[in-house]
Point group: C2
Chain length 318, copies 2
Amino acid sequence: MNILIIGGGGVVGQKLAKKLLERGQLDGKPIDKLTLADISDPAPVEGAETTTCDISDAASVAKAITPETDVIYLLAAIVSAHAEEDFDAGYRINLMGTWNVLERARELGTCPKLVFTSSIAVFGGEAPDPLGDWSVLNPQGSYGTQKAMGELLINDFSRKGFVDGRGFRLPTITVRPGKPNRAASSFMSSIIREPLNGQEAICPVGEDFLHYYLSPRKCVENLIKGAEIPAEDLGQNRCMLMPGRTWAIKDLVAALENVAGPEPVKLIKWESQPDIEAIVKGWRWDMHADKALKLGLEADASFEDNVRAYLEDDKPAA
Amino acid sequence: MNILIIGGGGVVGQKLAKKLLERGQLDGKPIDKLTLADISDPAPVEGAETTTCDISDAASVAKAITPETDVIYLLAAIVSAHAEEDFDAGYRINLMGTWNVLERARELGTCPKLVFTSSIAVFGGEAPDPLGDWSVLNPQGSYGTQKAMGELLINDFSRKGFVDGRGFRLPTITVRPGKPNRAASSFMSSIIREPLNGQEAICPVGEDFLHYYLSPRKCVENLIKGAEIPAEDLGQNRCMLMPGRTWAIKDLVAALENVAGPEPVKLIKWESQPDIEAIVKGWRWDMHADKALKLGLEADASFEDNVRAYLEDDKPAA
């Protein structure tokens, strides 16, 4: 089993690599080789190889995906606020990058398994709640548009037998380790992570703001299960919502206090940021991952679990 | 008012040009210039200019769409069976062609009005009936995939203010004049048209096969109304089903007999064609165009009307 993680330098890619190597197998087959690829050389993970790959460049993709590649995780993307700001980069990376990966698979004729990360940002507009497996994808931003287009491609290339694709719309992943990024959702991790590390964080929305979350730990478990779902169980739409749970900001803050005591929450500063609010208010939260739940994917049991997972897996040593 | 019809050589493009020139105005503004563009020089229409345009070539698109272009009708496409057979041509024309038109508009900065024809082939898979404005687009063919991707682009480019786009998912257009084409739906016109012209036609599906139809006449009226809908009335999804009506093949045959007497129906030969059936059985028929109806678009009152419209508008002189 030869696995390639494109976007292997990111938070999810790094954790996925570690988890896969810890298991040693995927779908019952031993992992012989695991490669992390990213636009710049990914941080090393013991037991994994690393390489650079620019998915917007077909030649670079051809070097990364070889006839020996059995499973591709396509996690690389320009994130939401960045794609909104840089229209060209969003389409080049998120749409044409996906296209290049799919075309490379088609060219090889090996029908590799492809696990694609879509996003809940594909939902939006006037579609009535609740949102589920039969809801229109009506993104209200360029990032969601590019992800929705990627889902359509995954389905069409799979139907043609060029890849064995499956796509999962990721909830917002919290608590993400590391530094804030350019995703409009970045604060949803910062307001937990920074206080746990003794630092201030800004919350740009009110405490009643609802959103749909999943911990990095569960996300990685789901991405592994997602690769193991038999193709025949995926039905006529290989892309689906990954299970998450809906909480208000005040639920996150309460969970932080429940796990870490009264001090960290005092480090959250409440400052409205209209540009961030304009994006995240277009996102949806009343959504139900029936199909993925039926296929064995899981959400977190509580937001306290998300906070504890961060402390156990990611909190930097003092 | 300067109007460009891309795909102006096709049945709908030709009829649309004639109707627009007959009206002399669009949205209350006099039509100063109307240009028919197509991959090969379109048949002349009195009062219209003609030009060639290959939408898969950005330079060709740049010549056709100028700073003076106020309204673009984007009707050009590789049809369903053709796109299924020639994967590359389908993406090159239907996806990248749409991209080139949108990018040209963006480059000009003039925010032209763009009327895009999508298709009911965007629907499919396991989404429950009835299908409507909130249903997932889950095409089961490459043509529907490319049209669904086009819809997403129309929305994103419109949201950004690069075009004032609106997209309409065309029902199957019957009775089409002329010759059979490579669309899998071609027989849905042939079985009416050929008998009316004293020729045999093959029906490759059974008489209970249900489908969603619209006459070319109503389609053209709807495309004109579609251009006149104020942008603010389009809401957060500028693409919608164009109203049609659902009939079984036997309803079509009965209407043919009601309008033209008992002789023509004897010319229909019933011969199963599994390759055509495989495509059209993936299509859906239980669909409801609530949004478009509310915005003033209309379906035919009866299939007899479709037959009569063919006789009045299109039947070749004996």
